[in-house]
């Protein structure tokens, strides 16, 4: 087992790559009584077209399958895995995102037994037509629940607007219709293609002994047989760099409109240290342009164009990236104009210098240090960073290195009207119908 020391942060990380290809990272945290373990595969909702393990022909599987598979992993021939975790007093959970599926637990007791349970349940698939069909009712209700959430619809509507081909535009859970097509066979195909240990990462953090933890994991993995690791063949798409649809809206039973401006990223091919610097540079620029200390924020807040729901964010993975700026508002068109004006100003004349950059750098450093108090944050983010060949613990140093030139260069990825899109949620009773309305049709 190797050790990696981060002096400024006072952390020591332990690392080992097992014979079967599984990467294991262990971070002991003094003073904590809980341990948090995540077991993550680099497989998410965007992985819908691929060549299955051991085959020649590419297939496209029904939408929502990665998430469906995540649900079904918890059910075994002898019952529900939650039961076992509860016996240990461990809270288990899982989530599926665009690019990852993570299984996890937190516990203050029986940590090593729970780790074995985690490894075993994720590595012993059990799917039958009966259990698969039963899950359709549960996930159907999950999909319906999200359908009623205006903020989720706003988020996904904006993403749908931006992408023409890329599967990021497909809701992670799929639709009631698409999940109805899922069979046990589909699940096995996806499982064996994407759940090989060489496509997975285990991160253990908290109150633990690194030597003991690695020993438990090594022994557990030795007992199991896996196919030879083979590279996964995902089928990519040709996604144009500009946003697909400039504007759409949807009516829902809300009192106040919601609006989001999406900025589609042109640069989505970076990885490693370059990607880390790039995404930090964009986040810093957004802080300066749209943060709560910006002139923009003061103006729209004082004019009553935004409220406490106002937020902005940047997401980047290999193959897709986007920023979003939005708020609940009574004047969606005015707010959109203000956001677009602010972006235009940036293109014409770069609006800030070293002093502003220094201030937001401090803010981001503080944010990272605060986040390092949360072992959940560390485990989830470390895995995401690692899957993109970045290191979470390099963040503070990377922020310190960023120059004004880096920041300007990086932000070009979002610049230009062609990258912009607008999505609005409008109240049912609102009589003002906007020109662009298209009743939430899916493109």
């Amino acid at each position: 087992m190797e050790t990696i020391r981060f002096d400024q942060l006072d952390e020591t990380l332990y690392y080992e790559k097992l014979e079967n290809g599984l990467e294991v990272y262990i971070l002991p945290k003094k003073g904590f009584s809980k341990t948090f373990v995540t077991f993550t595969t680099k497989y998410g909702s965007v992985d819908r077209s691929f060549i299955p393990l051991g085959e020649q022909q590419a297939i496209t599987v029904p939408d929502g399958i990665a998430h469906f598979l995540e649900h079904k992993m918890f059910e075994k021939e002898d019952g529900d895995v939650f039961q076992k975790f509860s016996e240990y007093g461990a809270s288990a959970n899982a989530f599926t995102s665009f690019a990852r599926t993570a299984y996890l637990f937190s516990a203050t007791n029986h940590v090593y037994e729970s780790t074995e349970t985690l490894l075993n349940f994720v590595q012993e698939p059990y799917f039958t037509e009966k259990t698969v069909n039963k899950e359709k009712g549960i996930i159907g209700q999950e999909i319906t629940m999200y359908d009623d959430q205006p903020d989720w619809r706003l988020y996904f509507g904006t993403i749908e607007n931006m992408f023409k081909e890329h599967p990021v535009k497909i809701d992670i859970a799929g639709t009631v219709e698409s999940i109805d097509q899922i069979t046990a066979e589909h699940l096995y195909t996806c499982y064996y293609t994407f759940y090989h240990p060489s496509n997975m990462l285990l991160f253990a953090i908290g109150a633990l002994e690194p030597e003991k933890m690695i020993e438990v994991i090594r022994e557990n993995q030795k007992k199991k047989e896996f196919a030879k690791p083979t590279p996964i063949k995902r089928i990519g798409v040709n996604e144009p760099s500009e946003a697909a649809i400039p504007e759409r809206s949807l009516r829902m039973d809300v009192l106040k409109s919601k609006v989001s401006v999406g900025l589609k990223a042109k640069e989505t091919s970076l990885s490693g240290r370059e990607m880390l610097k790039h995404e930090l540079a964009i986040s810093l620029t957004l802080d300066i342009l749209f943060g709560r200390s910006s002139d923009f924020y003061t103006k729209v807040y004082e004019e009553g164009l935004i409220d406490e729901s106002y937020s902005y964010d940047f997401s980047l993975e290999q193959g897709f990236g986007f920023a979003m700026i939005g708020s609940d508002t009574h004047q969606p068109d005015k707010l959109v104009q203000a956001i677009k004006d602010q972006l235009k100003k940036t293109e014409q004349n770069w609006p800030f210098g070293e002093e502003e950059l220094e201030r937001v750098k401090r803010r981001r450093i503080g944010f990272h240090l605060r986040a390092l108090n949360s072992i959940e944050y560390i485990a989830n983010q470390f895995t995401r960073y690692k899957f993109n060949d970045m290191n979470l613990f390099d963040s503070v140093a990377a922020i310190e290195e960023l120059t004004l030139a880096d920041v300007k260069q990086a932000f070009q990825s979002l610049q230009g009207e062609s990258q912009q899109t607008v999505f609005k949620i409008l109240p049912l009773k609102d009589s003002t119908k906007t020109d662009s309305e298209s009743e939430g049709s899916k493109a």
């Binding site: 400024q8 942060l9 003094k30 003073g31 904590f32 009584s33 809980k34 529900d80 939650f82 039961q83 975790f85 509860s86 016996e87 240990y88 007093g89 809270s91 288990a92 937190s106 516990a107 203050t108 007791n109 039963k134 009712g137 549960i138 209700q141 999950e142 319906t144 629940m145 359908d147 009623d148 959430q149 205006p150 908290g206 829902m252 039973d253 809300v254 009192l255 106040k256 709560r292 200390s293 910006s294 002139d295 924020y297 003061t298 807040y301 009553g304 409220d307 406490e308 609940d328 937001v360 401090r362 803010r363 981001r364 450093i365 503080g366 240090l369 605060r370 390092l372 108090n373 049912l428």
Partner: protein
């Protein structure tokens, strides 16, 4: 867990020295009896104080200063606890030792003084334009509940179940009460809060305790409180036995049920009721999860929660409209099963293990330490995890059956879409 010092009458500083975190956390709590009109005043007040003071009159200037202090987080909020209304000032700042060269902590303490004691006054009151803007913000916040259907349904349930009762009074107040606020009333509320509220100041981090107490006394100079703020008993819920259905334009039906119980946080039966709730619907091994979700595939979520401050148990589930009766029946069956003693040893063991884990986990964050201590310090005993473990261990199946029998279904609330069939 915390060292407590009474620095003036009913003003306490609670310190906890630990190197567990890379930050220092402060939490200031100002309490007085919960009254609906005052809730609105105090909420608008927190917004006004957060966005403007004599040194930093605009949001932007305040935010810039916070950015300079390595993104120090500072916010005010309101909440309620039993029969009390609480104004909260939470601050989290990076510990100086992780920064190259800085003296952030002392500046943060000065800033806390500025925020609370140096208001942005004009002619002896808050400024008109700021108050008007923040009244609007709070109104929008209250209204936004409508757009979140689960929260809205839960809100409606508590209003029907316990009208004009602390359980249903919002810490944010009501829209008419926000609208009624004047510059003078808000200024009076502010001065009353500083002079009369019971004060608890918490600090957690790698600090020099003695120095910190001295600095806090200087930064937050609260004098003796008058002992006039008596907190009354929480009134009993009047039996309602109602079934209310409402419709909105939405897809999923939201089924929320309210049960009354005679068991409150301060009662000896409290740990027993916690175990009851865990087995009933508190965890993924619970009867509601295993039957309504896993066995019958009726719902993505079906769970119960125990609001010990008010002696209430809530059940909530998101279902297809057509499954309303069936789901209600299933929920009733689970409660009945527990009343009839259908509780396994495994369910007891799992629930006790989960409660212990939950408490220990919550203590792994500075905020968790503050909140748990703040809640448990009101009991006539010193808080420690082991004591609670012992209490849970002592609970028997018979105890849980006895708890189940004391639940009384008061109100069913069902919010559903306009069409009955999809």
């Amino acid at each position: 867990m915390f060292n407590t010092l009474e620095v003036a009458k009913d003003v306490h500083i609670h310190t906890r020295v630990t190197d567990q975190f890379k930050t220092v956390n402060f939490s200031l709590k100002l309490r007085r009896p919960l009254k609906v009109e005052e809730a609105a005043e105090r909420t608008v007040l927190t917004n006004v104080l957060q966005h403007s003071n004599a040194q930093f009159p605009s949001t932007a200037s305040m935010r810039m200063y916070l950015d300079d202090l390595y993104g120090t987080v500072l916010y005010l909020d309101t909440s309620k606890k039993g029969n009390e209304h609480v104004v909260i000032l939470n601050v989290e700042t990076v510990n100086d030792q992780y920064l190259k060269n800085s003296d952030v902590l002392s500046k943060v303490l000065e800033l806390m003084h500025t925020v609370l004691f140096e208001p942005n006054f004009e002619n002896g009151t808050f400024k008109e334009n700021i108050v008007a803007r923040e009244k609007e913000m709070v109104k929008e916040r209250i209204q936004s509940i409508f757009d979140d259907k689960s929260r809205y349904a839960q809100n409606r349930l508590t209003k029907i179940l316990a009208p004009n009762h602390p359980a249903s009074i919002s810490a944010n107040g009501t829209i008419p009460d926000v609208e009624a606020i004047t510059l003078q009333s808000l200024t009076d509320t502010y001065q009353r809060m500083l002079a009369e509220d019971v004060v608890d100041i918490y600090v957690v981090g790698d600090i020099d305790e003695t120095k910190m107490v001295e600095e806090l006394k200087k930064a937050l100079p609260f004098g003796d409180r008058k002992s006039s703020l008596t907190i009354t008993e929480i009134p009993k819920i009047q039996p309602t036995d109602t079934y209310v259905k409402e419709k909105q334009d939405m897809k999923q039906g939201k089924l929320h049920i309210g049960f009354s119980t005679p068991v409150f946080f301060k009662d000896v039966d409290f740990p027993k009721m916690q175990i009851f709730n865990g087995i009933f619907g508190g965890y993924p091994h619970s009867k509601l999860f295993m039957n309504v979700r896993e066995k019958e595939s009726m719902a993505y979520y079906c769970s119960s929660s125990y609001s010990a401050q008010y002696g209430l148990v809530y059940v909530m589930s998101g279902i297809d409209v057509e499954n309303e009766k069936r789901t209600l029946q299933l929920i009733d069956e689970q409660l009945l099963a527990m009343q009839q003693g259908e509780i396994t040893d495994l369910e007891m063991t799992q629930t006790k293990a989960m409660l212990q884990n939950q408490l220990k986990e919550a203590l792994d964050s500075a905020r968790g330490q503050i909140e748990i201590y703040d809640q448990y310090k009101d009991l006539d005993e010193d808080f420690n995890v082991e004591a609670w473990q012992t209490k849970w261990q002592a609970v028997t199946k018979e105890d849980v059956v006895a708890m189940a029998k004391q639940l009384h279904k008061e109100t069913v609330y069902f919010l559903s879409g306009m069409e009955d069939e999809k």
